[in-house]
Amino acid sequence: MKKWLSKYLPAGRTGVIAVPYVWLLFFFALPFFFVLKISFAEPDIAQPPYTPLLTHEESKTTITLNSGKYSTILDEVKSFGTESWADAAEQSQYVIAYWNAIKLAFLTMICTLLIGYPLAYNIARADEATRNTLLMLVMIPFWTSFLLRVYAWIGILKDNGVINNILLWLGVIDTPLQMLYTPFSVLLGMVYNYLPFMILPLYAHLTKLDGRLFEAAADLGASKWTIFLKITLPLSKAGIIAGSMMVFIPAVGEYVIPALLGGGDVVFIGNKLMDDFGPNLDWPQAAAVAVVMLALLIPPIVWFQRFEQKQQEEAA
């Protein structure tokens, strides 16, 4: 019995690899194939709400590929340069949504880097007890519900919110400033929520730096800035890249923050996808949007993974 089993069950090593591998292939990799497939279907009032690609009729099998969902996006790209901004806002909604997402994700990456680097640097150089407390203080907001943190900004930024109430009370302004539902509020919400994703990888790399390097450089007469530019910055490059990618890539696909802080005026591509999936019930369009988004994101993702792998091999 045992022998019979061992003949059919994979050996220990293969078995250990197979369990997580099969799970990831089935639930993470395989689904992308269905996205690609359904992006070539047409919406239909049926269960499921799209037409099949393969149809059997009188022992004949036909494949119907509908590229119309990609044309919607492509046509917008083509006409984008030729129309005025007012028309573009009306007619090129997908292009604008892609552009908004990439632009604000990039700005988020820059802002989190500018705020996160000095924070991570100072945490890494603090003495051990302080370091632990400071890190914990970064982690606590991160462990608190993401949705609730976004909601907090609504209360602060809205017309009768905290900032406007204070400014009105101080007499700085007479009428409330419009801060919520602007690109500013979306950017602020994104920077706030993605900051820990920047700080933690930066900290992990900065804390590994050997303090003796700084001492040696200082003994040899290097100024603080020279030390920073010639030693700290190059040696923390891997942390900068890791943090930037951990922020930029998911931020491009952000949905919740523009939905709650953008109020329909700042629309990301993730929101267009959710609209096509939900209210519009146009799943093939949502799938085409996802395929295009994936095509835009795969180069940075692959590049980042290569980079990480190279780093690990160098460390080993």
């Binding site: 992308f32 907001p141 949705l147 943190r149 900004w153 602060i156 009768n160 998911p250 799938a287």
Partner: protein, 295 residues
């Protein structure tokens, strides 16, 4: 260590101020008598009472906790295997694809992951013939039981896939830091690799497993986007309740919920941090003793 210059200190204070102002405002306005969240109408605990009488919220919270518990547990099992394979198995066929698949869920936008998983489940449902009246085979009957309708099981699978990536990274980096010699010694002495894994590797990486489980639990408890794709009617989770009430017009009830979450999280982080630090100190000491030959 050198003392921090004043300018750095100032920057740190501002940075932490930025991190904590929204949290403070959430807590303060949870005690607001007025329905309008940010217009102060006097001090009151009334929204805490409202919250505990809100059946929709309690039901959603119950479901969220159940899913978070299940997802964290399965994610720790699968993530530990994945992290162990990546840290200890060296090169094997398909290794770089495996490494890519393990870490990709962390960066891949959730709208894409959610939509693709949904389309997988929907295709499985029609492929297995779940809605037809024809008699089903045993396999498809099992498939339909699991994926037949969107609900707890589909959300569980989605959250597990997301969370196991985080666990794998934690386990992998913990294993890389650790000395292999204990495992090697046990194996040299004829201990079966499975036994080595359970009596040496697992206890040694236990802190990473605990933090992986906790991280998975909070990620799952917090997830809105994946759940929006994978949940069906009747499976509203807590984030979905929060999202829709924020959209419709929030009351300080949401702030009361937030305050409870913040208090619980803070206590948890502080306590587990203390425990982890003392456990680590103890273990480091034991390791040192073991390697220096003293008992």
């Amino acid at each position: 260590m050198n003392k921090m210059p004043l300018s750095n200190r100032l920057f740190m204070v501002m940075g932490y101020f930025f991190l904590y102002v929204p949290i403070a405002s959430l807590v303060i306005f949870s005690f607001n008598e007025s329905r309008l969240v940010t217009v102060w109408g006097g001090f009151s605990f009334k929204w805490y009472g409202e919250m505990f009488r809100n059946d929709d919220l309690l039901h959603a919270a119950g479901l969220s906790f159940k899913i978070a518990f299940l997802s964290a547990t399965l994610a720790v099992v699968l993530g530990t295997l994945a992290g162990f394979v990546l840290a200890r198995f060296g090169r094997f066929k398909g290794q770089s694809l495996f490494a890519g698949l393990t870490s990709a869920p962390m960066v891949m936008p959730e709208v894409i992951v959610g939509l693709s998983m949904l389309l997988l489940f929907v295709s499985l449902q029609s492929g297995l013939g779940c809605s037809s009246d024809e008699p089903l085979g045993l396999l498809s009957r099992m498939g339909c039981w699991a994926f037949g309708e969107r609900g707890m099981i589909t959300i569980w699978i989605g959250h597990t896939t997301l969370c196991m990536a985080y666990v794998a990274v934690l386990v992998q980096s913990r294993l890389k830091e650790l000395d292999r010699s204990l495992e090697d010694a046990a194996m040299d002495l004829g201990c079966h690799p499975f036994k080595v894994f359970f009596i040496i590797t697992i206890p040694v990486i236990a802190p990473a497993l605990v933090s992986g489980w906790l991280l998975s639990f909070t990620l799952s408890l917090d997830d809105y986007v994946l759940t929006a794709f994978l949940s069906g009617p009747g499976s509203t989770t807590m984030p979905q309740w929060i999202f829709s009430s924020v959209r419709i017009g929030p009351t300080p009830e949401v702030n009361a919920l937030a305050t409870v979450v913040i208090v619980v999280v803070t206590l948890f982080v502080v306590v587990s941090n203390r425990l982890m630090l003392s456990a680590q100190a103890k273990r480091d000491k034991a390791m040192q003793a073991a390697f220096s030959g003293k008992s």
